[in-house]
Symmetry: C2
Subunit: 464 residues, 2 copies
């Protein structure tokens, strides 16, 4: 049509098909504009127009007048999160590890999962809280609770924030139904479909699944052992005009790395210059051997939103998270939580959490847990070394080891083979927006007691 | 500009301003197209263009190239749910009753709230469940639980569905973080911004707050003592091409009316003809003296999605709801819940609910509760009659009375006056998408024990 060889148009069509296959573009997403895609692919706009028209003729995409081209499948945008087939046959996408570990057979081994075994959790303080609960007033067992959640738990959290150098007043804090739901509410509040969000590459896989549900454009920032690559962050902030950056500062998931003071300061400076709101997911704070820099503390909850939960340290069965942010945002977020969930966490759960946090048993449990984790990380690293699997860094705390597989091994293939033997692994690319972590795997050192894991891993790597 | 008198343009501008003030149009919403608004208002398209241009000059709206005009306030769409000012000064909007009752002072009287007092709830079975919980395995107290929620509770629910004539297999049921969250997930799954949703007029106020958060267009269908006006439903289905209809079939909120078999059958026939998905919120099912028609039972969960929760009958502190629907939708909804909340309800809560439902205490409690409610409805109606307040119908069950105020009294004004005296009321227009229920008020007969309520109501009506 425009004198371009047909092969160039077909190459473009293949590029779009690949994005559909990898779900980088999902049903309902808008394709890049003709001008922009032409620039990116270094072809003429008319070549892009021809490619889009031919994909539209195939029914893969469709034009909307005055608004561009969209991926077909209009009424089911979030279904693109995963495929509809049988679970075992699904692609290894950002939801893969969640599904496989949450719904695993009780006999399955789960070195890929993101939580501690039940017997590593503070069972004794929890049972004491349950017994105390049997004696509370009727209304705690029956009523909805206030829109911001248990006042007792919020007071305890504010006291802990103050210890961490984060000054916040009661109007800056609300409880939510989970840490994930905290980020979800923030996304609903601040994002519109098509907005750009920066995440670390690699990052917690569910950030990607969540952002996909918001039809956000995800841009990964390469992560270093001292935090995100600030030069890359600055370039992306300038070029992509992101609305949000979502990160873990201490004991980053999946790498276990910790933000350095210099990176923290530079990052906030760049975020301010480009008006990027930062969501700091601080779910691993209590695993730290000693406090590390916090964006929320440096910034004073002006541009930074802090979220967290109790699922990793106390109990995932509680379903409780929190948001600390500007008071006017909290006001709007509380309304949004009422509209969409009617309430936040269960008042029964928050009563139990407040009881455990207020008692001395929790701090003692965490002291002991940190010692146990140091030992477990060392032991797991030694066992993995025998298989040629080596940690990217030696984390200062937490329960993850982000490891490189022996040369040439693709972790998605290894994970599929291990799954066939009842072992759930966490292959690198579920964490990587750019798909550049195929040679990595995340291990949870608390879920590796069983010696069968080593055998399955060895066979999966050998391909036997 | 086009020879139209200036007053016509100004009248149009005023019409838009009124929609903004009433939040019928919220920040980020698209205004009607020029052609369509011209037809609706019976003016020329150029008059609409002039009105839009002048509103844009005032900063109230803005144009997006090729896409029309939008309400300004781009990055904060859901904030339009409520205003940002001090709580007491806020407008009486669909979130008003929720906020005022959830965060009420413990001394406040709440005949406007939507739940039973703690001492009307099954405290003894709940405490027994708590004691049983202190003896469960560690993993129930610590782990996330499966993505669809407690298998024991799902089995109990399926057995109850079967009693109600609803055949469903395990793949058609999932647990959610609340009944509201169940509807929210369905809206995220099926709606796009700008889609039209039918609700009853009047309807549960939070349906409107929730749909506003989804930027849905809300169309109210007049409600009759035997269900929605099917003629109006059919006209709206044909004219507005709605994606969803959300309703309560048994003991409708706020009217207490019950769907008749004829209305149910006609409604489903019309919904099928126009491809409307029906969400049947069955939260009041257990309050019925005898079973009434269910859309989910007639339809067999093909076009109808059933949702419910335990907040009204067992405990609002549990935070647990459910969705029963087509198996392929459940599959997608489960993924969406993982992406946006990571899990559904607290496994501790679902363990307690399953324990209570499985025991004999719950049925006994509900039998007794229904007797108590019959008496309370009669007594409340008699007391309200002394104030000239009369029920629209005599409901066959439940705890609501939908009442007409004495002639000429506006319930929002009465509610504001009562609030100043510490009494939370539920004025009619928070339930009415068309704003046509200003002469009505919803009363909760279980929250009217205190004789001060009569005095405050009398003064509020008299304006003294």
């Amino acid at each position: 049509m425009d004198g371009q060889p047909v092969t160039r148009t077909e190459a473009l069509m293949d590029a779009v098909r690949a994005r559909l296959a990898s779900r980088a573009l999902a049903a309902g997403d808008r394709l890049p504009s003709v001008r922009r895609f032409a620039e990116t692919m270094r072809v003429s706009p008319s070549t892009v127009v021809e490619a889009y028209d031919r994909l539209a003729a195939e029914g893969l995409i469709h034009a909307r007048r005055g608004s561009g081209f969209y991926v077909t499948g209009s009424h089911m945008p979030p279904m693109a999160l995963g495929e509809m087939g049988e679970r075992r046959d699904r692609d290894i996408d950002p939801l893969w590890v969640s599904r496989e570990s949450l719904d695993a057979d009780p006999s399955a081994l789960k070195p890929g999962c993101g939580w501690l075994p039940a017997d590593w959790m503070p069972q004794a303080p929890m049972r004491r809280a349950l017994r105390a609960l049997a004696r509370v007033e009727d209304n705690i067992l029956s009523d909805y609770g206030s829109t911001r959640g248990s006042a007792a738990l919020r007071r305890l959290l504010l006291a802990r924030f103050a210890e961490q150098g984060i000054e916040a007043d009661p109007g800056q804090l609300m409880l939510t139904g989970s840490g994930t739901q905290a980020i979800d509410l923030i996304c609903r509040f601040l994002l519109r479909p098509g907005d750009t969000v920066l995440v670390d590459d690699p990052c917690y896989f569910n950030f990607q699944a969540l952002l996909r549900a918001h039809q956000a454009r995800i841009v990964g920032i390469s992560y270093t052992p001292t935090g995100p690559d600030v030069t890359a962050f600055e370039a992306a902030a300038a070029a992509e005009r992101p609305r949000l950056y979502i990160t873990n500062s201490a004991l980053h998931n999946p790498t276990g790395a910790t933000l350095s003071p210099q990176t923290a300061h530079r990052l906030l400076t760049v975020a301010a210059a480009h008006d990027v709101t930062v969501v700091e997911d601080d779910i691993f704070a209590d695993f730290e051997p000693a406090p590390s820099p916090r964006l929320a503390a440096l910034d004073g909850l002006s541009r930074v939103v802090r979220i967290g939960s109790f699922s990793k340290t106390l109990s995932a069965a509680m379903r409780c998270g929190y948001i600390a942010a500007r008071a006017d945002w909290i006001e709007g977020l509380v309304d949004l939580q009422v509209a969409t969930s009617f309430g936040g966490p269960s008042p029964i759960a928050t009563e139990m959490i407040a009881h455990v946090l207020a008692g001395g048993g929790y701090r003692k449990h965490m002291d002991e847990l940190r010692r146990r984790l140091t030992h477990a990380r060392g032991e797991a690293a030694a066992r993995l070394a025998l298989l040629g699997i080596t940690p990217w860094i030696d984390p200062r705390g937490g329960f993850y080891l982000w490891c490189r597989l022996p040369d040439g091994h693709e972790s998605a293939i290894v994970a599929r083979r291990a799954m066939a033997e009842g072992v759930v692994l966490a292959p690198g690319n579920v964490f990587s927006p750019s798909g550049s972590a195929g040679g990595f795997m995340r291990f949870n050192v608390t879920q590796m007691d069983d010696p069968r894991i080593d055998d399955v891993l060895r066979r999966a790597i050998d391909g036997a």
